[in-house]
Symmetry: C2
Subunit: 383 residues, 2 copies
DNA sequence: TCTACTTACGAAGGAGCGCTTCATTAGTAG
DNA sequence: CTACTAATGAAGCGCTCCTTCGTAAGTAGA
């Protein structure tokens, strides 16, 4: 029962303009005839719409494709380059950023290392450098920025404050949304990093095409992201997916099975320990295999809870340990098979370390689409 | 990226007609001027739309309201009576049905007792009697039926077959959707009963207005229903909410704590046992209180899992035991408070035994709305 | 009962948008 | 150079909504 407003002829024109933009975004440059066919409009009407969109700067003409029969047709394309979106992944050890055009096509990526216990200002400066780097690499300026979407570890509030972050001590309590709004003169969105990773996997990664996805971040810390009906599910208080808090789900201490294994050399840094165990398990070392078994036993409990609650089409394994998915997937599948009502597909992440920035870009693009296609306001001129 | 079709003037008229219907459904009979103001159309245009809707039978005129200044204004109302929806709750011991108009306003209700181990044909006959009864009570005929929505216990397939039902042995394997389609010459929808109860609570019960709701059916069997973003969440394989299958969630055997309590008199039928324990607990009987404590301990584990995964705005306690919500709510809240990241509101069901039929009606009404307001087909004449 | 006031009705005229039709134009193929 | 193909551009039509204005049908007060 959303919209009670009727419309007049300008509303119809607006609808048709948006339909044309949608068609162009979906299928590259199109001729007038192709556009008319796709939208169901007549050619003359389509022409008028296209002229108006050119006038406003949303669309531009490209040279006709040569070598066709008959008179060469005008071709139009959506000006995805008339603005840009930035995705930021603010992690403990790195700040990553990516810049894309309005279609979400990545144009530049940067990474800025930062220490987990670095003071607040230092991390914010790293964010600034990462974004500036992307702008420089792609030859854009801050004025071209339409949206900055940031993903970070920790529990967020619906307004974009950091309620708590174990990985980044200086982060807890920060009003990140406000800080970023000071830094960037554009729309700013904040989300949890696992949720953005889940979105990226659902849009361009292992779970492409699935509407309901459970993303499991397996690493030194456990995290999850839910995609429900194609959208990020954040929950009423932006606290969805925190099953790690439930002792009975056995997630909190699960990574210890890998860290405390005796195949790990004496004096290994805690963040590297699990890697040894997973590598040894791959080589068939029985002690390591037993540790992995205990780890997956625990992992499967929380995972089964999520699968039973949501019945997703797919489960995607991401995060640091998912580099060893070959060791983890089979036993995880086996345990889920036993526990679940209907077994979902279980896959390893295909996007790796860029998962979160990609998800941030997709999140920003989604937001833009919603603004564009659900608003009642007429299209505004660009530039 | 749903709709790539543009539209001509008839599409605009269609949009405005639907907007008018929506406005009329939302706010009773309206005068032309009021309608015009709400929809943003001019009065003359509104008149034309209204004339067309009257012609098609979707709208009719009602006598002007007397005692107003100025010339009396024509008033129009949506003809919610031009069709009807039926909701059916197929339980172990009863088949309930309710009939509503197209706005979901209940016009008749019936109940048909049936034995849990009754053969298939007998239960189907009870469904037929329950629905016929509603039609008779409201003076309608089967030809007025637009949609029949049925909720039943058990695990369903996405197509409306019964994959498994513990409560109704004869039910397992049945293609219920097909059977009901044979019986009723209209749209037929099948859903799990707990999901429909959840929908009813979210629309007209304890969780009114909440977009994300976890409904817990507590009784001799445990069940859940999820409302996410205002819609029933069924999952990819229609198996969402089956957390009772997970041993670590401690739901499966939870009711035993109440059944096996020593305050239950010797020889009590198993379905009545828990009632004694809950009643004794209300009276402060220490043994019963201890049993309730153990029960809620278990209940809270699965509930916390769902809350942590989804972060709903509200948790609603329904099902047979929710009649003793006064005994259960406080301890459940206390345990959730400890386990959860963000504490949702926890309330008792306000709809009681009619929960499922109401939910079925709401489900049918939702389906109708989607068909009406998202289709590209022009409005068809009624009658 | 009559008059003033209020509010809705209905008809007329105009503007915007999309449609169809048809002669024209700019290419390729032989 | 000619035939063929496919897009272009202009003209005319019909529909939907808009604004404006005189008229009609009630109530309130003298």
């Amino acid at each position: 029962m959303a919209n009670l407003r009727g419309g007049d002829l300008s509303r119809l024109r607006q609808l048709n303009s948006l339909t044309a933009i949608r068609a162009l975004r979906g299928a590259g440059p199109l001729t007038l005839s192709a556009l008319a066919e796709r939208t169901g409009l007549s050619r003359p009407s389509m022409k008028e719409v296209a002229d108006e969109l050119m006038e406003l700067g949303w669309v531009e003409e490209v040279p006709p494709s040569p070598g066709t029969m008959g008179r060469p047709a005008r071709r139009y394309r959506f000006r995805a380059d008339s603005g840009c979106l930035v995705g930021v992944d603010i992690g403990g050890h790195n700040v990553r950023a990516a810049l894309s055009d309005l279609d979400g096509v990545i144009l530049a990526e940067t990474r800025q290392p930062v220490l987990p216990d670095a003071p607040l200002e230092e991390r914010l400066a790293a964010i600034d450098r990462a974004v500036s780097g992307c702008l420089a690499l792609s030859g854009r300026s801050a004025a071209d920025l339409w949206t900055v979407a940031a993903g970070t570890t920790g529990v967020l509030t619906p307004e974009g404050r950091i309620a708590f972050s174990a990985a980044i001590p200086a982060w807890t309590g920060l009003d990140l949304a406000a800080k970023l709004r000071e830094m960037f003169p554009c729309q700013v969105l904040i989300e949890n990093d696992s949720r953005l990773a889940a979105l990226a996997e659902a849009r361009r990664g292992a779970a492409q095409g699935a509407r309901d996805v459970v993303f499991l971040h397996v690493g030194r810390r456990m995290g999850t992201g839910l995609i429900i009906d194609g959208k990020v599910h954040r929950g009423f208080g932006a606290a969805a997916g925190e099953i790690v808090m439930l002792p009975e789900a056995r997630w909190y201490d699960a990574p210890e099975h890998l860290n405390a294994c005796e195949v790990v050399p004496e004096g290994t840094a805690p963040e590297d320990a699990a890697g040894y165990t997973l590598a040894a398990a791959r080589d068939g070392h029985p002690v390591a295999l037993a540790a992995v078994d205990r780890y997956v036993d625990d992992l499967a409990v929380g995972a089964a809870a999520m699968v039973l609650v949501l019945d997703p089409q797919m489960v995607v394994l991401g995060g640091g340990f998912s580099r060893s998915a070959d060791v983890l997937l089979a036993p995880l599948r086996e345990r889920l098979e036993r526990a679940c009502m209907r077994m979902p597909e279980v896959r390893a992440s295909t996007l790796g370390d860029e998962c979160v920035v990609m998800g941030a870009i997709d999140y920003a693009a989604d937001h833009l689409d919603r603004e564009l296609f659900t608003s009642d306001a007429p299209l505004t001129p660009l530039r």
